[in-house]
């Protein structure tokens, strides 16, 4: 895609996330050919959709498509792959002598498929298994973010319908790409939180002047922009080489900075931002959930430090 095509594509994605969520958004994305874009322009497809999704606080099955794309198992047009449980990034299934054991998360749309796909470690590689939906239990996730559109999925001692052999690029590559997608969604959510706080600060008058004229408020908002730009810069880094390490960094930084953003913006929005009459709480909820998907900022940051210490080397230096 060249510049003009990307702009056109971005506009149709923006319209889709502004108007739809959940399965309606899945349908709208199918119409604009988002899955094709994922194949031939992955960065534009992922960055645009996930930032818009975060900015508009909507959900879709796109994260499953990202994982399937990285695994090389996107041979069906439907999203069908099971995501890891919250806070985890290991494959969501294990193979035991009695059959498959599944524990993970899926977008609500997957309940209506005849079968889903799970990845499980099998010896040296990761195996791909088709599991009939009837052999799984689905439970709606309310939790901190009842609009997250996710279901808990679990099953034990399952005889899989098909064993499709090892994955093309492996689970680690899928985790990396999923983390980058979620990082974009966190950045999108953060940008909306900042815009909500900024508008409030400009309009809210106290002591005879807009609170945006007080340095305490200005510096909080400036701090927030720095936090978001830091997450954006780390995403640039991830796209430059797309290693597991830089993707994990992008996710960790985006997660931490989204929490920072939420804290500053809630303080600026003050009373109104503490009510359900203002949309801020939706973004705070989503931020916490997204931070947990594929590993929290805290756990990824610790893992990075431990890895550096064990090999005695910083990650590869960024080339100009």
């Amino acid at each position: 895609m060249d510049g003009e095509d990307i702009e056109l594509f971005a506009r149709s994605i923006r319209n889709a996330t502004r108007e739809h969520t959940g399965q309606a958004l899945d349908a709208a994305l199918a119409e604009v050919g988002w899955c094709d874009a994922l194949t031939f322009a992955p960065r534009a497809a992922i960055a645009t959709l996930f930032e818009c999704q975060g900015a508009d606080n909507v959900t879709s099955s796109a994260l499953c498509h990202v994982v399937q794309h990285a695994l090389g198992v996107d041979d069906t047009p439907a999203a069908r792959v099971v995501l890891p449980p919250i806070g985890q990034w290991h494959p969501p299934a294990t193979v035991t002598h009695r059959g498959l054991h599944v524990n993970g998360l899926v977008p609500a749309a997957l309940r209506h498929r005849a079968s889903v796909v799970v990845i499980a470690p099998t010896g040296r590689s990761d195996g791909v298994f088709e599991v009939p939906t009837t052999s799984l239990a689905f439970d709606r996730v309310d939790g901190i973010d009842p609009h997250c559109g996710l279901l808990q999925v679990a099953g034990a001692d399952i005889d899989p319908a098909t064993d499709r052999g090892p994955t093309a690029d492996g689970w680690a590559a899928a985790v990396a790409l999923a983390r980058v997608a979620i990082a974009h969604e966190l950045v999108g959510a953060s940008r909306t939180m900042l815009e909500l706080a900024r508008e409030h600060a400009l309009g809210r008058i106290q002591f005879g002047r807009p609170i945006s004229s007080f340095q305490a408020i200005r510096h909080r908002l400036a701090e927030t922009l720095v936090a978001i730009e830091m997450a954006e810069a780390t995403l640039d880094l991830a796209w430059l080489d797309m290693t597991e390490q830089t993707a994990a960094m992008a996710k960790a930084v985006a997660g931490r900075q989204a929490r920072t953003t939420a804290r500053h913006c809630q303080q600026v929005l003050a009373g109104i931002g503490f009510t359900t009459e203002h949309p801020l709480h939706l973004y705070i909820r989503r931020t916490l959930l997204l931070d947990g998907l594929f590993g929290t900022a805290a756990s990824l940051t610790r893992a990075l430090g431990e890895e550096i210490m064990s090999i005695g080397q910083l990650p590869r230096k960024l080339v100009l």
Binding site: R198, S212, Q215, L225, T234, G305, L318, L320
Partner: protein
């Protein structure tokens, strides 16, 4: 000039030419002193390195031909400083002064003046300093009061500057002066290019907390400056200053990123087993890599001739945050080195830790950067 350099318009070629030349000439380029060395040693070593790199042609790459350069992308300048810093051949703060002052001369001096002066800076023959701050003028630069009055064929300058880095070594100074009324604020400032050996200039170095006399007070007593040394328009000095400040946050920050990368790797390598906290190490690494990624994008914008502006304040905030976090971690990890050891390497950690305290103060304090971000990037309007 070597053949390798003449064809190096492409960054990849430049990179490999620089690397192999640095490999071959390491013994000539490496400092003789241990640890940080004294400022005296650093300055004389810097002149040696600049001369060698200039004669090899690399120092001229990325600078316009009309000031003795070979033209080409400014990315080459960014890369050269990175390579010299990553190999510990120069102190990045001293080396990068060129990146702040040469572009200003190229943009604002008369073509003849720029063509005469800039090569001497690039070659390491001269050191230049930047006379902006005054005792009564810190963050509020537009309030400066060092006066320049027209007298005969030139200017007469009287007043005082402070925090003037390397003034005691400098042959020239890019000086901001008050040429309008005291109330004229940013509308009555003129930039001059002043010879530091002119009669009437006194320099008094100040010792900073890290033990280095890095900056000075500079006193001007009826100093004559020729009219041809005016930079930009009379009463147009604010534009000179505003265009210079983003250069403080572009190429020189990329060089600083290379330095911080090296120091953090040194910390990982030398930390005793069990002394490093993995969570803090992970977070500090993220801060550094985010800053470097941000600065990389800025280098590319500059190379594409985009105008740098207030968005570089974010680069500066990220640098200051990363630098302080790295040396805070060093201080927590290398307690004996930081506190009681007097060998050159310990001294170097201590100096770097203490110097890092200034990262949120110099070049526009952390608060000023946030003011710029609030007003210019977030469009929050006036602050009163």
């Amino acid at each position: 000039m070597t053949d390798a350099v003449s064809g190096a318009t492409d960054l990849e070629d430049f990179r490999s030419s620089v690397e192999s030349w640095l490999d071959e000439n390491h013994s000539k380029l490496a400092p003789a002193y241990q640890g940080s060395g004294t400022l005296e040693q650093q300055m004389s070593h810097l002149a040696t390195v600049k001369r060698l790199v200039y004669d090899a042609g690399f120092m001229r790459c990325g600078w316009p031909e009309r000031v003795g350069g070979f033209g080409g992308s400014s990315l080459m300048r960014a890369y050269l400083g990175e390579a010299l810093t990553a190999r510990d051949l120069v102190e990045p703060g001293l080396y990068s002064m060129t990146e702040v002052l040469a572009p200003t001369m190229i943009d604002y001096a008369t073509p003849e003046l720029a063509a005469t002066m800039v090569p001497a800076l690039l070659r390491g023959d001269e050191t230049w300093c930047q006379g902006f701050s005054e005792p009564g003028t810190g963050s509020n630069l537009a309030s400066l009061s060092c006066r320049a009055d027209r007298a005969g064929e030139g200017w007469r300058v009287s007043g005082q500057k402070v925090w003037t880095s390397l003034a005691q070594y400098a042959q020239r100074c890019v000086l901001l002066t008050r040429t309008g009324t005291p109330e004229s604020a940013h509308k009555g400032i003129t930039a001059l290019f002043v010879d530091m050996d002119a009669p009437g200039i006194t320099v008094r170095p100040i010792q900073a907390m890290h033990g280095v006399e890095e900056f000075s007070e500079v006193f001007f007593e009826d100093v004559a400056v020729p009219l041809a040394r005016t930079l930009g328009q009379v009463n147009g000095g604010w534009a000179v200053a505003m265009d210079l400040l983003p250069y403080e946050r572009s190429t020189s920050l990329w060089h600083r990123g290379a330095y911080l990368h090296r120091r953090l790797q040194d910390l990982v390598t030398t930390a005793p087993v069990g002394a490093l906290d993995p969570v803090k190490l992970g977070e500090v690494t993220q801060l550094l890599y985010a800053f470097v990624a941000r600065s990389r994008a800025t280098q590319h914008r500059m190379a594409n001739n985009e105008r740098l502006g207030p968005e570089t304040s974010i680069d500066k905030v990220l640098l200051a945050t990363a630098e302080q976090a790295i040396f805070d971690l060093a201080a927590e990890t290398l307690t004996p080195e930081l506190t009681v050891s007097d060998d050159p390497e310990s001294e170097r950690w201590r100096t770097a830790y203490l110097y890092a305290r200034a990262a949120t103060i110099y070049g526009g304090s952390a608060e000023i950067q946030r003011n710029i971000i609030a007003r210019r990037l977030l469009d929050l309007g006036n602050d009163r």
